[in-house]
Symmetry: C2
Subunit: 162 residues, 2 copies
């Protein structure tokens, strides 16, 4: 493995580990448990999971892998706060969508060369990228891994036994 490939491999390991933790945590919860709040008055677990799903879906165009698979997630889980409207998905439905999106991301990740990881992502202009070459796919991967980890840290605070 070249050193460039090693750097990509290490970041993907962190991403995969975070996705695995999310799979284990959310996948073990009942529909009833997914309705629990992470803390009194805070977001419900189903909202956090949906939010992470919407953010992952938005990675597909951002990284140049294609169109979004589920843009309809945004109104429930991204652009509006939790409980703005009745739930449109239950946990079983969300799980299928979550898995589908993560599978598409995995396929996209696997096709990128190290040099392609260093190319600009789709939300930065050519001019800005010349000045700020770190605004590339790799930085997006690191940042989104952090976002996922941050919300997982919150989700595990939920008291799902009561």
């Amino acid at each position: 493995m070249t050193t460039d490939a090693a750097f990509v491999d290490m970041a993907l390991r962190q991403w995969n580990a975070a996705i695995d933790r999310a799979n284990k945590f959310f996948g073990a919860l009942s529909e009833e448990q997914l309705q629990h709040e992470i803390a009194p008055g805070k977001n419900r677990l189903i909202y956090i999971w949906g939010h992470l799903t919407a953010v992952n879906d938005a990675l597909l165009p951002l990284l140049g892998f294609g169109k979004r698979l589920h843009p309809e997630l945004d109104s429930s889980f991204l652009s509006n706060p939790d409980r703005s409207a009745p739930d449109t998905l239950n946990g079983a439905q969300l799980k299928r969508i979550w898995d589908e999106i993560n599978e598409s991301l995995k396929t996209g990740f696997s096709k990128l060369s190290p040099a392609e990881w260093l190319q600009k992502h789709s939300s930065v202009s050519e001019e800005d990228f010349l000045r700020e070459p770190h605004r590339n796919r790799y930085t997006i991967l690191l940042g989104r891994t952090g976002h996922l980890t941050s919300h997982l840290g919150q989700a595990i605070l939920a008291d799902v036994q009561n």
Copy 2:
């Protein structure tokens, strides 16, 4: 910048951004606010901050930068749960230690070449490292950035107004 150096630069940017967020969040809290729990019955903010400080201190030997500066943090913030014993530090004291450790880490980080980032960390044996070359300094940096981000996600849930 070589591509190897770019990969190091991007991971350090994530680390620095997380440290900055922690500085802003914890640095703005009063001694009284640091006593708040992140959620009812959960860890206090001062414990989370102390825990992150102890973990950062432990990075110094793990990454080969030298001895720990504050091993005494472990009994209050790492090996025992919150409120096991009376507090030994207030927020102002903790802030000085936190800044001191992060400054030492910054110095250590700045001296490493990309090749040195790919060298094994001090807790993995030579044999294991041959089989698992990703167990290097860079992976530690990514993992600890995730750890920091995860606890920051929890800390910001605390209701510090009441």
